[in-house]
Symmetry: D2
Subunit: 290 residues, 4 copies
């Protein structure tokens, strides 16, 4: 089928290739003329037969602007899909704004990172049944072959919600392996830490794709000596904790994983300075100067 695709960066560019390889007719637009198939959103809209479907794949800071611009060139019966990392709570207002012009809205959480072009992308979709049905050929091309990798999770917002939780879980999984790595490294007994991780890739309860990746990283750098522990976080982990707080769900593991990232970016911890100050006050404990 025909699909407009706005945003041809690493993710969007790969998706265009995967869709075209599956026989779809993709018209891509990017502000970077080198990447773009058309000169403007207006041209993109012209090149698509109505009712159109246009997938937006831009950094989250630009999504609302891109959708508003699109709304000006699209019309009744068209559908806009946001495949970026939007916060789920932004979806309903967008859907409403588009609905006023007769334009449908579908939100898609996309997982798979740089591996998606080859393996297929995990797709979590929110929106009206009729809109999702119309887009199934696109979803089928993007997702991996087989029974998995796609879900219509619920109404508008549910796709990004599921992706948010996916990323929250991802934080926890990564940190569980990371803690195991640190403990094995600290042990006097285990002399072959990379070998232990490699062995776990089959036959064990902890085997996973993330473990495969960690083994791959350890193959390249067995002590991870070339890496700093300084770790960014993207919005999804924070939103997950915000939701936990809102819904009164105790999320100790995922929150600890998020807080560990915050910690990793501190040169020194103000909280621990306060602890040091207290120890000095009551115990005369020696403390370190910075």
């Amino acid at each position: 089928m025909q699909l407009g695709l706005v945003g041809l960066g690493r993710m969007g560019g790969n998706m265009r290739e995967r869709l075209r390889a599956a026989g779809h007719d993709v018209v891509g637009y990017d502000r970077d003329a080198e990447l773009s198939d058309v000169a403007s959103l207006a041209e993109l809209a012209e090149k698509l037969d109505a009712p159109r479907a246009v997938w937006v794949m831009v950094p989250v800071a630009f999504t609302d602007a891109a959708i508003d611009d699109l709304a000006d060139v699209l019309g009744e019966g068209d559908i806009v899909i946001d495949g970026g990392n939007s916060r789920f709570s932004d979806d309903a207002p967008r859907a409403e704004r588009l609905h006023e012009r007769g334009i449908g809205y579908v939100d898609v959480g996309v997982s798979g990172g740089v591996w998606g072009r080859q393996n297929g992308y995990g797709l979590m979709v929110g929106g009206a049944r009729e809109h999702v049905d119309r887009l199934m050929p696109v979803f089928d091309a993007l997702k991996p072959e087989g029974d998995f990798g796609f879900v219509h999770a619920g109404p508008v917002g549910a796709g990004h919600y599921a992706k948010m939780v996916h990323n929250g879980i991802e934080y926890g999984l990564m940190h569980a392996y990371a803690e195991g790595f640190e403990l094995l490294t600290a042990s006097e007994l285990v002399t072959n830490v990379p070998g232990v991780f490699k062995s776990w890739r089959d036959g064990t309860v902890v085997r996973s794709w993330l473990l495969d990746l960690l083994d791959r990283a350890l193959d390249e750098d067995p002590e991870l000596a070339e890496l700093s522990g300084y770790t960014e976080d993207t919005g999804e982990g924070r939103w997950t904790v915000d939701e936990a707080v809102r819904l009164a769900v105790p999320l100790n593991v995922i929150t600890a994983s998020l807080f560990a990232r915050f910690q990793s970016r501190q040169d020194d911890s103000p909280a621990m300075k306060a602890v040091s100050a207290l120890r000095q006050q009551f115990g005369g404990h020696a403390v370190r100067k910075p």
Copy 2:
């Protein structure tokens, strides 16, 4: 090769089958005569040509007794393998006791649960190089086919140590998925929670064998309504936290997962009673009677 196998319960019995299917000559002993190939450990020793190798696969509470009994019927040059869930710190004393009689000792952490007979077992091995080399035909038969599923992790104790950390990680992984399940369940937006988990099985960053199992469980009982949250813990999770404390490794995620199991077994929390008491005292907050 020839192998004695002591303990023919669920794990030991399955391992006997997998070893025999690979062409090994296994002589099994169990206190349950129905399961046993021989009437006694003495007969087991007789049926094996020296130098012998005998794998002990009994509940951890009986391991030391089984090994001491074996020591009486084995002799110089033989090897005892403990494949049970022993604490790593029990391995060195055992190895020393056996060494005095010229008997070797190898510890093996075995992962894979009830699926191991079919998929192969993940094996983490500790011991002397020469002992491990002699046992490689057995390890090759038990492990999954392919490049993974086996590691010689270090000297005596390293196998159980690696298995301990494996289980610690397992606690964290399980709890990360579990928290995601709870948050999705609490959300008003996601209407197809089991579908979300199923979709994650391919194309996503969180795909894993545990996720496959959770999907399987949700297929059988989409709301897990037939299950209680009451959850036991085995020793490995506790030992992992003990090691974290000993080695000064911050293990927030794995510890939170362990503590959640403790919590799950409490009808009411004494700590939260104290919090209730305080709120009542300072704020006149209404509190619940039990």
Copy 3:
């Protein structure tokens, strides 16, 4: 000085008494005519000489309505004080709305609970210097005697912000004692748990007002047998964690305390059901039916 006081519930009523005892001229209004000094906000405004100061002390859900109603009967140069448990982020919009009418706004976080009338209230104040200065006689009467119990923490919002953090800390303090209570209770060695808490009230590092209250509670009920662990949370704890997430501050202790309250209100944990499901799947572990 003269002060209008809107809301004469437990907190407001006590504050009226403390202010009058200090010689202030308080005109109180409450929807409950039995408690009220005047029949309406209009009458309250009439009874005060301009420039007026009116302190709002109503449940947070009614604060905005009360302030809007007040704005209609107050005028240029008057000041509204919110002493309720508002979220700090609500203060700036209120201040702006009032500012359009020439009315000042000061936010006050009030601590001390039911003990405040006797001991004095801890006051954390946000607002413009000139407004705070005008209100100092009121603050001096409400706060405890001595050097402490009052701070001008910053501009509008800073008072409620400081109170929010105060309550976050309070959660952590309470839970630290609570965990100690649970561990002592679980120990086989300590036979006099209430006596231990009582002893800590002097000479120790952990002495505090909360400890005094816990001792008081244990005097009444040494095993806290008459209490349930079911514990509510008010907004401040959640807002504290939201701020930690927003500002990337790792707040493990306070967050764990909040999550423990969430947990205390669950009959069964959906997360732990998922853990149970996984254990059953991979290990054939027996699980409990609900």
Copy 4:
């Protein structure tokens, strides 16, 4: 009464002064002749009338040696008191060894730090009723005046157990304030962070001795700029977590406080390196070099 006192360092020296000020006859021994009243333990024993009581106040690494040396110069009916920071599980074996010679043993957890000489020490005592009764004059002199500061917590070991839990709680309390300090510091709204802490010293729910000390530290250094966050831990925090694990008590707050100290001593986190490695593998996320 007469008391032998072994170990005249900061704690022991202060206690000698407090005891003498109360009229007790203290004979002190220290390896440092400058501090010591006698030349040897033998001379110390001679100077005391039987039945003797000797209080040992030495660093925990030397406690067992000091007690064994004492046992050689003491006799039937004498009592040894350990007031150091021993692990509770060391008490019963010591008591047994002394009991074989007819010598009693009492363990005392001592709180109060450098402030104890002036304020009195919090004393948590384990031992037989008859031994504790005989020592009451000493306890009365060391403890603060008033109703608090002393408990006979249970049999041998209970004193150190209570002190261990006291210190675990202390970790949690300190960290709760520390987190509040960090959040206030991060806030754009609160301009007077030290003033907020000072205000809390009266009228609030969070007032405590530790808060007084934190205010004192902030008076000296309002941003704690002269301190590093690097923080040691003594044994009690670790033993508390070990007990939590042994007794299956979920101790999230105290454990998080302990782990934060571990974290504070790491230049870079091996766990976070593993997280960085994973992010780089699946997402092509930029990572920092060390």
